[in-house]
């Protein structure tokens, strides 16, 4: 358990509405990531952060923005949700030391955009 909490666990929203997903970690990890999981695609990186206010785009960043104002919180925002953003979203942190090559994931947020 890497001390990662994602909220909400489930969310149903309508097309065009803004949605914010939260990832909270308790162990002061520097690197945090947002992935989405879709059938046939596995896990794809949306955005990542390498420190407070330091973020960068991943493979599938269009339609998403992120913010990291505190070390412990990494927020993912869908400014205007679309049905193609229905997915399971996972937050991850990068381990330290001997675990520095590994990512540790939260339990996920199931998002449905109707």
């Amino acid at each position: 358990d890497a001390g990662i909490t994602q909220s909400p666990r489930h969310k149903v929203t309508e097309t065009g509405t803004p949605v914010t997903l939260r990832c909270h970690q308790t162990e002061n990890h520097r690197y945090m990531y947002w992935y989405r999981q879709d059938p046939g695609h596995g896990l794809r990186l949306i955005h990542y952060s390498y420190g407070v206010k330091d973020t960068d785009k991943g493979e599938v960043s269009d339609g998403y923005s992120v913010s990291r104002s505190k070390t412990e919180d990494f927020l993912l925002t869908l400014e205007s949700a679309t049905s193609s953003q229905t997915s399971v979203y996972f937050c991850a942190i990068r381990g330290r030391g001997g675990d520095g090559e590994k990512l540790f994931f939260g339990s996920g947020t199931q998002l449905s955009v109707l």
Partner: protein
Amino acid sequence: DQQVKQNSPSLSVQEGRISILNCDYTNSMFDYFLWYKKYPAEGPTFLISISSIKDKNEDGRFTVFLNKSAKHLSLHIVPSQPGDSAVYFCAASDPDDMRFGAGTRLTVKP
């Protein structure tokens, strides 16, 4: 552009037998490879990994083999148990990036 491919969406094996999950990658810059296991409604959990300087890493019932020349890795589970039934994701990383395969759903039948 799928840089990491798991060509078998599903695999079914009998309890006690060997499970072999395969993964291919295209980017020769990847230098670290991982397998993750995922149960329904949970996040992926780290299972086993291997550095590109090795060709085998073993941890209990789980062994990962790496063939760099073929850009291929495999996960062997011996003996397979019903609790191993899950989706397995292969991942490959370089210092800047980690890419995942689409996953293989393993079912171990009692």
